[in-house]
């Protein structure tokens, strides 16, 4: 009864099991075992149990180990009849008789293919991941190496930059993002007459306590983040051009560089030059006036009556040449005076419409001689008063009109118009002629000192090339602008825009 029960159970059991005698011969297997290994009952009974996992290097070791212990569990590879190799977990259970002698053992086989596959995948994954990590690690190492290199390079760059800044001939004061002095170079130390250690880390307000730095900081604050240039006089009579340059990265403010460029020498050279020209011009005027007066007396009714007509003609021509020379020197004097700052600007409110009327009237005679029409167009609203140095503004329009007349052909028209602009904040004067115009290629040089367009030189050999240079200087000193449009052969139109009321102080300081 019991035996049957055991037989049934044995057959039914889904786990492959077998019973092996102490010398490892298989005595009995269940159905599941046959199915699993692919052998028939006849083939398997009596065979050496370990042939099932033959080739497994641990075969003989297992054999011995098995008999030493009651329980046993080990993962091994089973070879089926079809020579498939299946990973299994082998369970063994020794059987002993009542005397304790081993009479055999059970073996149970658990297929762990799935488990192995899974763990194999896992292993693969782990390996893969490990490899990734390895790669990452080496990449990271590379990066670190690169970073180190970059750091060294950056440090080198920074040292270089520092060296450049320190030894830069211009004074440099660098502010950090919180507007504190971060760096000051040697040139700036000299210009400010301070030691770097005394100003480093100081805020703008603290820097202002140094009288030599105050104007610079004020200029920087007034620039409100924009770039600005201005001439400043420093300690010891040095003249510098200061520039404030904010360091902006996108929206972020990273500080600013304040640069001081020493132009003392240039100023001195300029001064000597203008002084020389001024002196030379004065020295030239004396003999020129003597010549002028002598010829004038000779040509006078009384003085010149004994001269022949040819002699009188020579003298008239000499007189005219002399006049030309005088004009040139007057222009030269005006320019140098303008440059050496002696051109006294006396801005007062004056009538620009009346001034234009006067200038136009005084040129009507010349217009008639040249058979040109000279018109003036004034706005109905008047008088128009603007803040100006009338004497200098007159010079501007005299020059523009003289040019227009000189370069306009017979029968041409010159129109001078006055407009109120920008909500009566500005006036614009337009001087338009129908003359020869200015060649395209030479237009940008028109306001340069001594420049004369090639076509102008052919028609009028007398011009000094200083008129428009003067005009531009005067207009700009008033805070105005001057420009023109022209096409060669089709006349030129000059525009002068002047503010009705400009901050007086500002343009007084310019001169």
């Amino acid at each position: 009864m019991l035996e049957e029960y055991i037989q049934d159970l044995w057959r039914f059991f889904p786990l492959p099991i077998c019973y092996v005698n102490p010398v490892h011969r298989i005595l009995e297997v269940n159905e599941a075992f046959l199915e699993f290994t692919g052998y028939t009952n006849n083939e398997i009974i009596g065979t050496y149990a370990f042939q099932l996992w033959k080739g497994a290097k641990e075969g003989s070791a297992l054999e011995e180990e098995l008999l030493k212990r009651d329980h046993f569990e080990r993962e091994i590879i089973l070879t089926t009849k079809e020579a498939s190799r299946i990973p299994i977990r082998l369970y063994a259970q020794l059987r002993r008789d009542s005397a304790g002698e081993v009479i055999g053992y059970f073996l149970a086989l658990v297929d762990i293919t799935r488990e192995k596959e899974f763990s194999g995948q896992l292993e693969e994954k782990v390996q893969e991941r490990t490899k990734q990590l390895e790669d990452m690690r080496s990449a990271l190492l590379n990066m670190l190496e690169d970073t180190e290199e970059a750091r060294k390079r950056a440090e080198g760059d920074r040292n270089r930059t520092r060296a450049i800044i320190t030894n830069f001939p211009d004074g440099l004061l660098v502010l950090d993002a919180s507007q504190h002095a971060e760096l000051v170079n040697q040139a700036a130390e000299r210009m400010f007459d301070v030691k770097a250690r005394d100003i480093l880390g100081k805020s703008l307000d603290q820097l202002k306590l140094f009288s030599t730095i105050l104007p610079l900081v004020e200029l920087y604050e007034a620039s409100e983040g924009g770039v600005s240039h201005k001439e400043l006089e420093m300690a010891g009579g040095k003249v510098v051009v200061v520039s404030a340059l904010p360091l902006q990265f996108g929206e972020e403010f990273r500080g600013a560089i304040l640069a001081l460029h020493d132009i003392t020498r240039e100023k001195e050279v300029e001064r000597i030059k203008t002084e020389f020209v001024s002196l030379a011009a004065h020295q030239l005027r004396t003999p020129l006036s003597a010549i002028k007066w002598t010829i004038s007396m000779l040509l006078d009714e009384g003085g010149g009556k004994n001269l022949t007509e040819q002699q009188r003609d020579y003298l008239r021509k000499t007189y005219r040449s002399n006049e030309r020379m005088i004009l040139l020197i007057n222009d030269l004097l005006d320019v140098t005076r303008l440059e050496e700052g002696k051109y006294l600007y006396k801005p007062e409110f004056g009538q620009i419409d009346a001034l234009l009327k006067n200038v136009v009237e005084s040129h009507q005679g010349e217009a008639k001689r040249r058979e040109a029409k000279l018109k003036l167009e004034l706005p109905s609203k008047g008088p128009i008063r603007i803040l100006m140095d009338a004497e200098k503004i007159r010079l501007v329009f005299q020059n523009l009109l003289e040019n227009a007349l000189s370069y306009t052909f017979k029968g041409g028209t010159i129109t001078v118009s006055l407009y109120l602009r920008g909500g009566d904040e500005e006036v614009e004067v337009v001087v338009q002629d129908t003359g020869m115009g200015i060649p395209q290629g030479q237009q940008r040089r028109v306001f340069e000192k001594f420049f004369r367009a090639t076509n102008a030189k052919k028609v009028d050999t007398e011009g000094s090339g200083l008129g428009l240079y003067l005009a531009k200087n005067i207009v700009e000193a008033h805070g105005g602008t001057i420009w023109f449009e022209s096409q060669e052969g089709q006349g030129a139109t000059f525009h002068v825009v002047l503010p009705v009321k400009k901050e007086i102080e500002e343009f007084l300081k310019t001169f």
């Binding site: 004396t286 002028k292 007066w293 002598t294 007396m297 004097l333």
Partner: protein
């Protein structure tokens, strides 16, 4: 006859102008430097003085200043004839009461004569 004192160091200029003014009916005295000019002005008490600015010994501005300090010469009209013409200088002599400033290169002797006539007839 109205008296004109011409203080001018350039001999050619003064000779030409003196001739022109004489022809125009004036009694002309010439001084070649500032000091001489002051002496002659005090001696003769002229109706008008034509004064150069750049002069040896005393310059035009000093001559003018001294004339203004002299009761007899304080109201004598003075016309500056100069080769210079800087606004600062013009401003300075105007404050000292000079009537006019003529830049020599911009005027003929005839025009100077007319100016003189316009002030003293």
């Amino acid at each position: 006859m109205k008296r004109v004192l011409l203080i001018e160091d350039e001999e050619l200029i003064s000779a030409l102008l003196a001739k022109k003014l004489s022809e125009g009916g004036y009694d002309v005295t010439v001084a070649g430097d500032g000091e001489e000019g002051i002496v002659k002005a005090k001696m003769q008490n002229p109706d008008i003085v034509l004064l150069d600015m750049m002069l040896p010994r005393m310059n035009g501005l000093e001559v003018l200043q001294e004339m203004r300090d002299d009761a007899d010469l304080r109201d004598t009209p003075v016309i500056i004839i100069s080769n210079s013409g800087q606004p600062v200088e013009i401003e300075a002599v105007r404050k000292l009461g000079a009537k006019d400033w003529l830049v020599k290169t911009n005027f003929d002797p005839g025009e100077v004569l007319e100016k003189v006539r316009s002030y003293i007839g």
